[in-house]
Structure formats: structure tokens, C-alpha cells
Symmetry: C2
Subunit: 416 residues, 2 copies
């Protein structure tokens, strides 16, 4: 539709590439990606009201749920007693934050979230430490990414500290749902949806931010179980100039059919390739790490794809990189955020230089990978037949958990 | 998340590109696009129940809305008295179709449509003819595309004839909302959303199909008004192997910020370019047509981008092409579905060979374009300063309307 829908809106997008002459030095996808990358900065402080935690109202449920047995918890299936909600509209800004009984949303069928995917979310966890304090893990990272996702689809941004404070209050209120055992946590799902009731395609004039919480058990209750992946080139998850680096609903539904395809051939997930060069980008809904030995020098290298606009900026990804730089680099490892290809991995496997591979994300923390199906062959990622995880994967899990559960006091851990 | 979520699902996706060796003959984007294109066929007849129009139940509203003045109608803002709904679940299939009073949807905040954009839709119109019959325009095309969109994101498919019949019944029930004047119609919005209440990323086990209807007036109430576009290369709407050819919610929210950017510089919409070659793909949320004279032969050519997986399969696009082949080709025009570049358009403009340009979509039918901002210059699309539309655009509007309103009896028109 060509009719002007929102004349005079201020610009919130910074195009890194000028719209005038744009030199392309080579036709490689890497160059194109670099030339076309652009970034969005959250809009500057809005003149309308920001989120205000001091205004929080709490209405407690009159029918508290009974707790499930820890071993019966299924990811994202059961929720706590309450939810945190904050409405927004373009005229007044953010309204009163409310904690109220978990309940259905009542929305007009013309609401824009149903039609144009005005929706973004975060995934984060709260942990119970040995003193029974509740701890969030790097919430600043989630809030920063949440704002970037929101800005990219014309949804409102907010003060990261204010929302963190509200989430901490909400989490403490729901802390009885977090089993007191290692591996258990409360999965938090901050969600932001456009709620304008019109089919015109434009920036939503109203929105709803809500947070729900689901108690979860360890991803691998009986220890790691390595998965196998199908390298996927016929479908493309993300591209330069697209939105694959944002945590938008839009990035998820399109991945399900390829995932079902991979599973029909016996592989648990897709390994998303990009471009003619078959760059390795992500695995399923996690970032991907590989450890290989350098062909010439024998140096061990831990590699993950760079944040070039096609990779989700994983909080676990960033944490793994930081821990690796802190603890593996001094042992002689090279830690790399760089492009790498399936061909490079295949060669490493053929030459016995593939040490191990794992996915990294909030749900599983780290998830070991046994093999990748690529061009009709199975590329072995370094595990022996009787192994379910490599050494670095195990170490990362332990290092991450120490900070998540507060065994190691660290600035990444936010005590509620 | 790597855990197997739906083992044993049957394959519904046909990868055109084999996952084994895939030769790339050149690095051009055209070749890459061709090599990477893939298509989805709706799943074969499900063993669960299909949509059954004979089971329709109708609950009429007890508080009918008063009609708005025709001139006060705004696209997608006001809706009729009722809605058509059909629930689905994976075990039983499609349930009883219901026409009931227009009402809010009540959904758990964990419902997958809010998180992973399990949503697709159609846009179609119903017209009142001179005998006061109500007519749909090419509903078979909308139903076919709706099924393709649904299949691509693991939502259920259905019998096109069954849903068309239900939509016709619903439309007749709401016909008092269609003003009896040329240019007015009832905009119909079939929508399909995933309703599973879990945060696990997998194919929805339940869904809701609903149809709402909004009476609309002529897009250009006082005659055509040509718009100007900003050629956009810093953001990319669609990619080979992506979902840009499907009518998914996921394709819309990401386009709003670039649209706002274009408007902040005085342009009503984006003209989406693709690749290093700067292929012209679509304008805003419409397909794009250009008419130019051949440099060597002087032959007039009407061009639109081909359905290569990055272009929405517009019903209006297809109708414009058919009408052009039927009525312009005999007059010596060449009608082309082919790739074309901004450079080609710029040269045509510089050399006085650019005849006219227009967008094509359900909302505006055709929408004339005055100029395109590209690399800091304004490419004039052939209109004189005092003109708001070219001749072909005017003819297309008139030809289309004759079939939409049933002045010309034609198989495209479906009498309810």
C-alpha cells in the first residue's frame, strides 16, 4: 500500500551504507555482507513516559498452582502463578507496570501482532543459589538485545535498568517455582507485541510488554547426549540487510519445515549454511562453536561465526567467548570470531584435526554435536563413538553454571 | 534447542536443490537465486478432517453496527458484525466452521503466534455488482496462495473450494456493509494463526483460521495521485531460500522501519532492490510494473520481476499480466516477467524511453509512480509534471474494475 501512513516520523535507523554510490570490490558474499550491513540504534530517550518500576501494582492470585515434581517439568509448557505486563501507547508512552494472575490476553482479531508479526522476545533464566538467593544471568545483555529487536520493527524501547528491576521483583515473587537443585531454573520469557487494531501496515500505535515464567529442569537430565545436524543450503535463515540478528518471532516460524525435513532424515537440527561459500552460521536456534587444530601450526582454535548481521547475538555465545578468552587463550588456544566454511570443517575432520563442536544457547547452555550431514557425507565432529561430549563442551558447561548459580561470584550474576 | 521435537513427521517440503553437490556456474545473484530456489507443495490430503462447509453454524449478533458514511471508511479500521472462525488441531483436523459476532480472541500469553510468528494471511475483496450480487475476485488464487503460505510455516492446509464457499456465505451475510457505489468493496482478511500454548519451537499442534471483513472506499477517492519511491539497498526484504514469496506476517514488520526512513526523506514507499546488480523487486507491499521503450527497436515493453522466490505472487500482478497479454500484446507490446535493474530504468529515463510505472496490489489495484530516488538522483518514471497517471495504469484500473464489479462477465469473478 502506497498511501503515506506516518508522515513526519523521526528517523530511528542509521544506515551504515550510504544510499549514494556503494562500491563493491568483489562479488564474494563476505564483501557484500560487509557492504550491506546496517545497524539500528534504539531511539533516543522518548519524550513519552519510560517504564517506571516505582509504579508497579501487584495483584496476587487467589488460586496458587501446586508445584509439579521437578522431574516432570517440560520446557515452556507450565507457567507460574503470575505474569508481568506493561502496556504502551504512542501518546502517553509506558503505562503502569502490573504483576497479576497469569491469564489469557484478550485481543481484537485485527490486532497487528496476528497479521504483520510485530513481536519480539527474550529468553533468560533465573537460578537459585546455595543461599537460596535468586539470580539472573547477564540480564543487561538481554535487555539491550530486546531493545534492539523492538527498535528494528518499530516497537517501543525502554530503560533496561527499569525492566530488569521489574523482572527481578517478578522473579522473586515466583521463586517457589524454582526447584532447589542443580540444573533447575526459571525460564523467563519477556515478550513485546504490537496491539494496534488496524490492518493498515505501519508502526503500531500501541503495544504490550509481558513476562511469563516457566520452571525448567536440566536440558540433559541424564548427562549430555550429542546430536547430529543436517547442513542446510536449500533454505536460508538470515541474510545481510535482513533481521536474522534480532530476536524476532519472524525468524522462527520459517525454520520449522526445514527442521522437520532434517528430522525426517534422522538429524535433530539444521546447520544453517550461507552463500556459495557455504559459510557455517548457526545451528537450529543456537549459535555454533567448533574446535579444530590448525593444519600448519597445530594450534587449537575455538571458532564461532562473527556478528555480521546474519547471526543472533547470543548471550551464551558471548559468555562462551569471554570464558574461552579468559581460560583457554592462556593455555595456547586461539579464540576466533570469524567466517568458516563446511569445506574447512570437512577437511579438519578428514585430517583428524576436528576436536569438537557444540551449540550454545540459553535453553541448553551448551549442546554437543556428533556429526554434520553435508553433500551426502557425514562429517564427524571429533567425538569417539562412546563419547557424548568433548572436553571443552564439558568445561564450558561447568564454567557457565558456576557463574549462573553464583558458586563463583561474578558481575554476570544479578542477585534479585 | 536441539532436542527432537517432532520425530517421524512426514516430509512436506520438496527441496528443488539437491543437498548433494550443487554446481554454481557463476557468482551472479541470478544464478545463486536460481540454484537456491525451492518450493513447497501443500501437504497431501490430510487423514484428519478437512474444512466442511455443511457443518457451518451461524450465531447472529444481537447488536448490529450502524453503517458508517461511505466517505468516512478507512482501510482496515472498521469491521463488520461477524467473523468466520474454524479451529484446527493435529489430532482431529478442522473443526466446525462458525460465523459468530465479531469478538476478541482470548489466547494464553504462551501461544506460539505471539512468539514465533506462526501466522499467514490473505487480502481479497468482495464487490457489489449492478444487480446487487456480491462478487469475489479470483478467490481460487487467494486460497491457493493461502495454502502455500500455511504449508511453509507448518500450519494446516485445507480444501480451497470449502473455504471459498464459507467465505462467500460470510460475505453475503455482511453484504449490507458494502456501499452501492463504484470504488467501494468489502476487504476480506483470511488469517491463520498457530495457537499451541508452549514455548517449545516446533510445528503448532493447534491453529485458528478466521476471516474478518472491513468495508473500504476507493484508494484514490479524488483520482490517482502518483507517489515517489526510495530505492532501498541497505535493507533487504527477501532472499532466495527465504520466505519472501509467501504471505507471512514475518515479511511485514521488518519493512516498517525502512518505510519510515523513506518517508522521513519525502518518499512514500521503498522500492526494494536486490543484490549487487540492484535488481528491482517490489514496491512497499505491492508488485511493481514498468513500461519502457526498447533502446534498439522502440518496441514498448511492460516488465515485472519474475516469481523467483523473492517476489510475492500477487493476484493483481497475475491479473495485470493476463490483461496485458490479452490486450496490449496484440497492439505490439512485449509483456515480460524478467529481471531488470535500476540502471536499466535510469538509462530509459535519461533517454526518454521510460513510459510509466505502477504498483499493483489488492488494496489500490494499481498505483502510479512518479519517480524513484536512487544513488542521490531522482529517476523520473515518465509522467509529465501535470500528470498523475500514465495511460496503461488508467487502462489497467478500468479493465480490472470491469471484471471485479462484473460489468464484464469473466471467470475471474465469483458470484457469491
Amino acid at each position: 500500500m502506497l498511501r503515506p501512513l506516518f508522515p513526519g516520523c523521526a528517523s530511528s535507523l542509521r544506515a551504515a551504507a550510504s544510499r549514494t554510490s556503494r562500491p563493491i570490490l568483489s562479488s564474494s558474499w563476505q564483501t557484500i555482507a560487509a557492504a550491506r550491513q546496517y545497524s539500528i540504534k534504539p531511539a533516543t530517550a522518548p519524550s513519552t513516559a519510560d517504564i517506571d518500576p516505582t509504579k508497579l501494582t501487584i495483584e496476587k492470585t487467589t488460586s496458587p498452582k501446586s508445584l509439579k515434581k521437578p522431574e516432570d517439568l517440560i520446557f515452556g509448557r507450565n507457567f507460574t502463578d503470575h505474569m508481568l505486563t506493561i502496556e504502551w501507547d504512542a501518546t502517553t508512552g509506558w503505562k503502569t507496570p502490573e504483576i497479576k494472575p497469569y491469564q489469557n490476553l484478550s485481543l481484537d482479531p485485527a490486532t497487528c501482532v496476528f497479521h504483520y508479526a510485530f513481536e519480539c522476545f527474550e529468553g533468560m533464566k533465573a537460578y537459585r543459589d546455595k543461599s537460596s538467593n535468586i539470580r539472573l544471568f547477564r540480564p543487561d545483555r538481554n535487555m539491550s538485545r530486546f531493545n534492539k529487536s523492538a527498535a528494528r520493527i518499530a516497537l517501543p524501547t525502554f530503560s533496561p535498568a527499569a525492566l530488569t528491576e521489574l523482572i527481578a521483583t517478578f522473579t522473586k515473587l515466583e521463586s517457589r517455582f524454582i526447584p532447589d537443585a542443580r540444573g533447575y531454573s526459571l525460564y523467563l520469557r519477556p515478550t513485546l507485541i504490537g496491539t494496534q487494531r488496524t490492518l493498515g501496515v505501519g508502526p503500531p500505535g500501541s503495544a504490550l510488554l509481558y513476562v511469563i515464567a516457566s520452571p525448567v529442569g536440566p536440558y540433559y537430565p541424564t548427562g549430555f547426549k550429542a546430536v547430529s545436524l543436517e547442513a542446510t543450503d536449500y533454505a536460508v535463515r538470515a541474510w545481510p540487510g535482513g533481521v536474522g540478528d534480532k530476536k524476532l518471532g519472524a525468524n522462527y516460524a520459517p525454520c520449522i519445515v526445514p527442521q522437520r525435513e532434517a528430522m525426517s532424515r534422522g538429524f535433530q537440527q539444521n546447520l544453517w549454511l550461507f552463500g556459495e561459500e557455504e559459510y557455517v552460521t548457526e545451528v537450529g536456534t543456537m549459535n555454533f562453536f567448533v574446535a579444530i587444530k590448525n593444519k600448519e601450526t597445530g594450534q587449537k582454535e575455538l571458532i564461532t561465526a562473527p556478528l555480521d548481521g546474519t547471526i543472533l547475538e547470543g548471550v551464551t555465545r558471548d559468555s562462551v567467548l569471554a570464558l574461552a578468552r579468559e581460560r583457554l587463550e592462556p593455555e595456547g588456544w586461539k579464540i576466533s570470531e570469524r567466517k568458516y566454511t563446511m569445506k574447512e570443517l570437512d577437511e579438519a575432520a578428514e585430517e583428524g584435526r576436528f576436536i569438537e563442536a557444540f551449540g550454545a544457547g540459553t535453553a541448553a547452555v551448551v549442546s554437543p554435536v556428533r556429526a554434520v550431514s553435508w553433500k551426502g557425507k557425514l562429517v564427524n565432529c571429533g567425538l569417539k563413538d562412546n563419547e557424548e561430549s568433548g572436553e571443552i563442551t564439558l568445561k564450558m558447561k561447568s564454567w557457565m553454571e558456576a557463574r549462573q548459580y553464583g558458586d563463583e561470584e561474578h558481575e554476570w550474576s544479578y542477585v534479585c
